[in-house]
């Protein structure tokens, strides 16, 4: 026969279960703004019945208990999110860096490199057409100095950006290592709790968030193990396994988008912020090479003509731009010392005749001369084509970023639909569990009253 206190036991179990349910609901509400939090639900289960004999074997229910507290999460959406956010980070990083590169050139605009090139050739045209006017020679030197300063300055800015990006790559490796250590710590704790039979929902959320953050930086794949831990590979390199966290290899090649470990194994980083940084370094290198090509060909073409000139000082063989035996590119592109020292070292003529502007005319007509070293393009075409390529890249990656952001938004909406906390839902649950608790409390009161009545009968 069930004990007289069976009802009280049943009611108190109900009270406890509904109390825990309200706690879980409160936990959901408290974490409504927590990034990476998955809402938790309570699974109730009937407790095992008790049996008694009353004209036959009878089963009597014993109430309710909590079977499990579950977090609602879709692993498939998580895996899609790793890929999507990795690509978004790549495009986002690249778009931002391309904008920085474009700002160096300041095109299209009156302060751009193209405008400086035009002013340079124009000044030779002015000198060719009015070689007796001293102001024309000064203008040649001034516009050439401006052009040299723009080219050198642009190159120095690109070099600065390159150094910043290399620092960003190093910082990214530090962040990756921090995250992999965090994942390792969580793996160990989850393994321990899982061995004890618990389902550590909050730890699982934190680990998923750490892996997602890692996926923003480098391409990530995961393998779930039966003991609850997760093996993680970043860019194909095993960063987390049963033995612990392994620091990511730091030897990299931006040109090939690869990492190389101490044993010489090569790993490819094709998504994530790291891929964006690598591609940005490639873009900067392309821009620097383009500036070097422009500078070297300006030197060669201008000096080839100017060297045969005879200047107003009567000397010949004077370089216009400083040129060493081996071309040095844009890094030190500048006027020659002779031209800087005395504007009259600028030649307008091969013969030295003051009214002869033929040499200056040839230098002016360089603007429309196809140069072999520039791929048979004129200087302006070469520069305009580089700008068009930069613009097309910006447009392409900008559009790719917009598309990828829409994809990420869509996946995030789906994740939120599954795992997100809705305050309205939690309010309704809270009401439900509160009413249930009230009812269970009423049960306690009523069963207690019944026992009081029974004891009262014995005392008479």
């Amino acid at each position: 026969m069930p004990s007289p206190f069976h009802g009280l036991d049943l009611a108190s179990r109900a009270l406890r279960s509904f109390q825990r349910a309200m706690d879980v609901t409160g936990h959901n509400i408290a974490n409504v703004n927590t990034r990476g939090y998955s809402r938790q639900t309570v699974d109730f289960v009937q407790t095992d019945p008790t049996y008694f004999y009353n004209g036959g074997r009878q089963a009597l229910g014993t109430g309710v208990n909590i079977a499990s507290i579950n977090r609602i999460r879709d692993m498939f959406l998580d895996s899609r999110m790793f890929t999507a956010t990795g690509d978004q980070s790549r495009f986002g990083t690249l778009t931002a860096q391309l904008e920085r590169i474009q700002q160096v050139y300041q095109e299209p605009g009156p302060t751009g490199l193209g405008a400086s090139l035009d002013k340079f050739f124009n000044s030779w045209s002015g000198l060719a057409s009015n070689p007796n006017e001293p102001a024309m020679r000064l203008q040649v030197r001034q516009s050439a100095q401006l052009l040299a300063d723009r080219i050198r300055g642009s190159y120095a800015e690109m070099t600065g950006h390159e150094a910043d990006l290399n620092t960003s790559v190093t910082t990214l490796f530090d962040r990756v290592d921090t995250l992999t250590k965090q994942i390792d710590t969580l793996n160990k704790e989850i393994r321990t709790q899982s061995a004890l039979g618990a389902v550590p929902n909050d730890l699982l959320d934190q680990r998923d968030l750490a892996i997602e953050s890692l996926g923003n930086l480098v391409p990530v794949t995961t393998v779930q193990l039966s003991d609850g831990s997760v093996n993680v590979t970043a860019a194909g390199y095993q960063t987390n396994d049963q033995s612990g966290a392994n620091p990511i290899p730091r030897t990299f090649s931006a040109a090939n988008q690869t990492l190389t470990d101490a044993s010489g194994n090569v790993y490819h980083a094709r998504s994530g912020e790291l891929a964006g940084l690598f591609q940005s370094l490639q873009q900067i290198q392309t821009s620097k090479t383009s500036l070097d090509t422009l500078a070297n060909n300006l030197r060669t073409s201008t000096n080839a003509l100017h060297l045969v000139g005879t200047n107003p000082n009567g000397t010949t063989g004077v370089q216009f731009f400083g040129e060493a035996a081996v071309q040095t590119g844009a890094i030190d592109f500048d006027l020659s010392a002779a031209v800087k020292a005395d504007v009259r070292n600028i030649s307008n003529s091969a013969t030295g005749a003051p009214g002869d502007g033929a040499l200056a005319l040839q230098l002016s007509q360089l603007r429309s001369t196809s140069v072999v070293g520039l791929g048979n393009k004129t200087f302006s075409q070469f520069h305009a084509d580089r700008m068009a390529a930069l613009g097309n890249d910006r447009a392409y990656f900008g559009s790719a970023l917009d598309t990828q952001m829409a994809v990420v938004d869509q996946i995030e909406n789906q994740r939120q639909a599954v795992s997100g906390v809705s305050l309205d839902d939690e309010m309704a649950n809270l009401m439900r569990f509160q009413r249930s608790y009230q009812a269970a409390a009423k049960l306690v009161t009523m069963f207690d009253q019944s026992i009081q009545d029974l004891l009262g009968m014995l005392n008479r």
């Binding site: 904008e99 299209p108 006017e133 939120q416």
Partner: protein
């Protein structure tokens, strides 16, 4: 499908952010009159702007060069006109001197006048332009080309062309080759002077007067050539101005916005921005908590 609170918030703030961005882009277009971030939003148009700006700058320079050309040609033409005037004066003196009714005293006085004409001729041969260059010296134009050592005028310049860049791969000659005209004219005036002093009427009639006519013709031809060059320069100026206008239009088409269209876009963006904020304001107010007693 469930809508979580975070999703709601993200949707409202995302919509506001996007509407705000479009609003500020529309505002920037109106205040600058230009399309924003052209290199990214329309690389082809940006490339057109860069190339066309380059052509426009070059054409503007050619236009400036034409001013130097006009100075050279204009000053040359003025000097030649005055020189031709001198030769005409000498011709008139020769005609009077060759007249039998003119006495020798008068012819002596005419000879002094011819001497003055010679001095002035040498000065005109050494005429200078705005930059101080000698107009009839060829390319060696920083030294006076003509040196007067009576009874001769010596030319020390050269006969090379002075050229001005007027267009792509196009340079025009602006100077007049003056060497032989001035030296010949000086020599003819010297001969006339001697004929006047010597009272040699037959020389004056038979040689001096025809020689002076030749000099006048020669100077008139040079004046005509200078005039043609000036007309050509003015034609280049018109062409350049047309090209500059064309380039300006092409650049404007590529980089400028239609203000009326931009205003409409601005209005639409402002409406969308306001609507996004209003919807967010209304949405945030709705909560089950307000209905639970």
């Amino acid at each position: 499908m469930r809508i979580s609170s975070q999703q709601q918030y993200d949707r409202y703030t995302g919509d506001i952010r996007r509407a705000q961005l479009r609003y500020f882009e529309a505002q920037a277009e109106i205040t600058t009159g230009k399309r924003q971030d052209l290199l990214k939003n329309d690389p082809a148009a940006a490339s057109t702007v860069i190339r066309t700006s380059s052509l426009k700058t070059a054409t503007t320079q050619y236009d400036k060069n034409l001013r130097a050309a006009k100075d050279y040609i204009g000053n040359s033409e003025t000097a030649l006109q005055e020189t031709n005037g001198l030769m005409k004066k000498a011709y008139e003196l020769a005609m009077r001197g060759a007249n039998t009714s003119t006495d020798q005293n008068a012819r002596d006085a005419m000879a002094v006048e011819v001497d003055q004409l010679q001095k002035r001729l040498a000065e005109l041969g050494n005429a200078r332009g705005a930059s101080g260059q000698y107009l009839f010296a060829g390319q060696d134009n920083e030294t006076a080309p003509f040196t007067q050592t009576p009874p001769t005028l010596t030319f020390g310049g050269d006969n090379n062309a002075v050229r001005v860049e007027v267009g792509p791969n196009n340079a025009a000659t602006v100077n007049t080759q003056g060497s032989s005209q001035f030296t010949d004219a000086y020599a003819r005036l010297e001969t006339l002077k001697n004929s006047l002093r010597g009272g040699n009427l037959s020389a004056m009639s038979g040689q001096d007067i025809p020689a002076l006519q030749n000099s006048m013709n020669s100077f008139r031809v040079s004046i005509g050539e200078a005039g043609s060059r000036m007309a050509l320069v003015k034609e280049y100026e018109s062409q350049n101005q047309r090209r500059i206008d064309e380039f300006t239009t092409r650049i404007a088409d590529a980089e400028e916005v239609d203000i009326a269209e931009a205003m409409v876009r601005y209005q639409q963006a402002e409406t969308a921005y306001t609507a996004a904020m209003q919807v967010a304001g209304q949405g945030f107010k709705l909560s089950l908590m307000d209905f639970i007693r």
